[in-house]
Amino acid sequence: MKLKKNLVAATMLAGSMTALSFLSAGTAQAQGALVMYCGVQEEWCRAMVGAFERDTGVKVSMTRKSSGEIFAQIKAESANPRADIWWGGTGDPHMQAAEEGLTVEYKSPKMSELQDWAVRQWEQSKQRTVGIYSGALGFGYNTELAKTNNVPELKCWADLLKPELKDEVQVADPNSSGTAYTLLATIVQIMGEDKGFEYLKALHKNVNQYTKSGAAPAKAVAQGETTAGITFMHDMVTMVVDKAPIKVVAPCEGTGYEIGSMSIVKGAKNLENAKKFYDWALTADAQKIGAEAKSYQVPSNKSTPVPPQAPKLTDIKLINFDFAKYGSSEERKRLLSKWDNEVKNLPK
């Protein structure tokens, strides 16, 4: 009976504690606070936060999520925004947020130091988002599996249609992954819409699974669960650095790319600090942190040293990716539903 009494007491205590400790929303940092949603890997996010706090003394509250989740959250919170800055993650949701007016224009004094593609995206988004890194689309294959299955060397998009790769290619579902949507847009831009869809239909026969997450095929290739996988090349590189038997391929026909972006949230409570971070994140020093955190994207500041492991953008035949067109909601919806109807539902 004693115990029971204690339990009841504990329950009540816990209840009142909850009320007390949680009802007071947020932190009480009046000065120098910044709320950041971070769309890249945890380690990179942490390193950025640590460096920024050290450099400026601003206290950063960081939450790491995938870009899609961040977009959904910022949209849901738009009536009363919680976040100040959205840093990292693929450019499409940033572009979409810009289109829907969830983010604000800002012209950083550092704009002049940036690569052309970053500036171009900034202009296309009406100054609402800026490129901070970029990564090219490509594919990788497991060299050990390729040897056992007698798959010849793969170099081009067309090679992925080889009959030896039947049920051996993995790529994400463009409905759930920005990476896969980049592939869809890239193929359409390289081959034209009709030929492009012919290609995707042919590829469908070799695809064993459309994964949910864009980077998942890289892991599957590393684990030997599939022979080839289509991802951003830097995702494959991370696996290679981790000693996976993977060969990373920049397709010979040329390829599209993503621009990892940064936007300031509309209605940010700490607008000045958000701008401070924005300017800082565009410096070469800040952009060096990526490689230190094992992320091998290409930085947008011209003077940032490109990590040696990173796929050299100069070695890759990059297409002139039309972010404005293929990033717009309308075109995206059209292409996705076309892909759903014409490719995904095909019998194998």
Binding site: L3, L23, S24, G68, A79, S176, P347
Partner: protein
């Protein structure tokens, strides 16, 4: 007028005149005067917030019964005061928002933006609660619920909580099912989305195309419901009715999967059965069986969900099996029924409420599960992942997510309805106030064998899965590099000794502490509210009981993703502005996990004779005392079940919290998901191992604290003792 009523009237005034009515801005630094008097509704009201002043009217009304305690019409005054107070607070709360009037009509009428106000704070919360309780006390004084103020207040509070934390957010998101992208009412859009072929297509029957996602979900749910119930029953029978030597071990092991963070079982299954998994390699190298990808799809998700949800069935069924009156079985045996016949005709039917509950939980869990289909689903799509990607995926279609949620909800409620239809109105009371002197029957041979043959291989399989997980935490990279290392643990849980004491520099510490804190707070709350609800549902009669029950199930039926988004939509703006706090996480867990407490509470309570409560009441114990002294001790299995379940779910849930975590309250699971996404399986597994150990310790602590239920039943060994022999007249 009871002292409790008086107390609540005083608290109503305290909330209005002393405590801060509004929540503090996150950047503000409140002073003491902000906390006391300075921020109160009274001061705000006199300083321009005129809309707060009408609340004084019901507060003054409540004083009349307090000052003239013996009037006959006091109950009327209490009811009027409570009702008016609640109504006023709700009206002013919802019409005046952060940016002025919330209704365009009012903007047009007043020709301006109107006044604005922040979210409610301690004062508003306390005053609202006081009004609610005053209302309930008034109703009790009128003889509602046998004049029991505790019961009416409990009903009132639970209903209010369910309305605020279940109906309100769910209504918010479901409203978007009928809206187009601009938020206008568009029933046609709903119809098109609803009738979509990708949801209802039946192509898999006629060709090798895929079937609609709704059918996939339903099929998987049925398989998992049946599977978990069967396995859970096998474990429960072995644990309670056999002399199996390792049943303690079996019990622990059967509970292991429930405490495993999401993704981990999926990862382990890939590492065993995947194309380059351990088992596949062995089969290929020794027997030449070609490697395949069979694990991706229905089989993989099915196995993973069986592993994950069997423990729930087990926890539900063990209470029920223990509660079956042995006398009934003995009665059957004396009627010349063989032990097998007894089992089939008496024992099994008596377990019907338990079986139905176990099935319902397995089915609903499978429907709402998100982690396993994500990792192992392959091309087998289910509603929960569809909904998630409808929200966060490339299409960003919230309306579609809402439509899919409605379908998911319909399935769950359908299962609930079927369960009721099947159980019917039969009475399953087996713990009566009469002492039961029967001895539980040993299991019939074939049932025992069947139980062993299902449970033991399954237990071994669980061991294999956990070995993989354990090994994975201590090697560099599972499947590629088996160099033993502690590196993962060091990254996550490094502790440094500095001049100022210990510094937790590991990357996982923040989320770890936050998770433990939130879980430890939500578990007792969940159990308390869940069991209170079960008590109200089984022991009290009041109108609207059915819809009340439905409300408690609703949050469970809605997939976590949708709950997460709906909480953000509903609680990010005044009057209830709690996103970004730990409180919203706690409430989310409480109301998502409460149904388990309710179900297991109902299952156990329906076996306990109602006259036990009544006896206690006539002996002068009030409902609250009766709860504590009579009902709760007999409910111990259900308490353990709901405490364990809610603690564990708070530590392992992912889909709902992924939207609710903040920098301050980052949860372990979101951290792990991040690791998995980054391909750092080792770190993810290492962190999961730590969580598993924490949860094991917590479960042991819960079981120690709550203790076993004493029913005074004899076992075989004591029945032969002289004491018992003497007892027979």
């Amino acid at each position: 007028m009871s002292r409790a009523t008086l107390g609540w009237i005083v608290l109503g005034w305290v909330g209005f005149a002393l405590l801060p009515w509004y929540g503090f801005d996150r950047t503000a630094v409140p002073t003491l005067t902000d906390y006391i008097v300075g921020g109160s509704a009274l001061v705000h009201g006199l300083n321009g917030a005129w809309w707060l002043l009408p609340i004084l009217v019901p507060l003054l009304m409540s004083l009349r019964p307090a000052l003239l305690p013996s009037r006959a019409d006091n109950s009327t005054w209490l009811i009027a005061s409570g009702f008016l107070g609640l109504a006023l607070i709700v009206i002013e709360g919802f019409t005046i928002g952060l940016n002025g009037w919330t209704l365009d009509v009012l903007k047009a009428l007043t020709g301006g933006n109107g006044p604005s106000q922040a979210g409610m704070g301690y004062g508003a919360a306390l005053t609202s609660t006081a009004f609610l309780i005053i209302l309930c006390h008034g109703l009790a004084a009128r003889g509602w619920c046998r004049g029991d103020a505790f019961v009416t207040s409990s009903i009132g509070v639970v209903i209010a909580l369910i309305i605020v934390f279940v109906f309100f957010p769910v209504a918010t998101i479901l409203a978007s099912a009928f809206a187009d992208n601009d938020g206008n009412f568009a029933p046609l859009t709903f119809l098109t989305k609803f009738m979509d072929k990708s949801i209802w297509g039946l192509d898999c029957l006629s060709s090798d195309l895929r079937c609609g996602v709704a059918w996939n979900t339903l099929f998987l749910g049925l398989l998992v419901g049946v599977g978990t119930t069967a396995l859970g029953l096998a474990f429960a029978l072995i644990a309670t009715r056999t002399a199996f030597r390792y049943k303690k071990l079996l019990r622990v092991m059967s509970v292991l999967p429930i405490i495993t963070p999401p993704f981990v079982i999926g990862l382990a299954l890939i590492l065993i059965f995947g194309r380059s998994g351990a088992l596949s390699s062995v089969l290929w190298e020794w027997f030449g069986i070609p490697r395949s990808r069979w694990i991706y799809g229905l089989p993989g998700v099915f196995i993973a969900q069986l592993l994950a949800f069997t423990p729930i069935a087990f926890l539900v069924l063990i209470g029920v099996v223990q509660g079956i009156s042995p006398t009934l079985e003995e009665a059957s045996q004396t009627l010349r029924a063989k032990s097998w016949t007894t089992f089939v005709t008496v024992t099994l039917p008596l377990m019907r409420p338990g079986l139905a509950n176990a099935f319902l939980l397995g089915f609903v869990e499978s429907l709402a599960d998100f982690g396993n289909p994500l990792v192992l689903g392959g091309n087998y799509e289910v509603l929960s992942t569809k909904i998630f990607f409808a929200v966060v995926g490339a299409q960003q279609d919230q309306g579609r997510a809402a439509v899919l949620s409605i379908i998911l909800l319909a399935f769950t409620l359908g299962a609930f309805w079927l369960q009721h239809a099947w159980l019917g109105k039969k009475v399953y009371t087996t713990v009566t106030g009469k002492g039961d002197s029967g001895v539980p029957l040993p299991l019939p041979r074939r049932v025992a064998l069947a139980s062993y043959f299902t449970a033991i291989p399954w237990a071994l399989f669980t061991v294999a899965v956990y070995t993989i997980i354990l090994v994975g935490a201590f090697v560099r990279s599972m499947g590629r590099d088996y160099t033993p290392t502690l590196e993962h643990f060091l990254t996550a849980f490094r502790i440094e000794r500095t001049d100022r004491g210990l510094y937790f520099s590991g990357s996982a510490w923040d989320s770890f502490f936050a998770t433990v804190k939130v879980a430890a707070l939500s578990a007792p709350l969940t159990a308390a509210i869940g069991l209170l609800t079960a008590y109200l549902l089984t022991r009290q009669r009041f109108s609207g009981q059915r819809s009340f029950e439905f409300g408690t199930l609703l949050s469970f039926a809605i997939p976590g993703t949708v709950v997460g988004v709906s909480y953000i939509l509903a609680f990010n703006v005044p009057p209830i502005e709690i996103t970004g706090t730990g409180f919203v996480l706690v409430m989310c867990f409480v109301f998502r996990n409460m149904p388990v407490g309710v179900r297991s509470g109902i299952a156990t309570l329906s076996q306990i004779d109602k006259s036990l409560d009544e006896a206690s009441l006539t002996l002068g114990a009030r409902s609250a005392t009766t709860m504590r002294r009579v009902v709760l001790p007999l409910l111990r299995p259900a308490i353990v079940a709901s405490l364990v379940y809610s603690f564990v779910r708070a530590m392992t849930a992912v889909s709902a919290v992924i939207f609710l975590v903040t920098a301050e309250y980052n949860m372990a699971t979101t951290y792990i998901v991040g690791r998995v996404e980054a391909g750092e399986f080792g770190l993810a597994i290492a962190y999961s191992t730590v969580l598993i150990i924490v949860m094991l310790l917590a479960i042991l602590a819960i079981q120690l604290a709550v203790g076993e239920r004493r029913l005074g039943r004899r076992t075989l060994s004591t029945s032969a003792s002289p004491v018992a022999a003497q007892a027979i007249p």
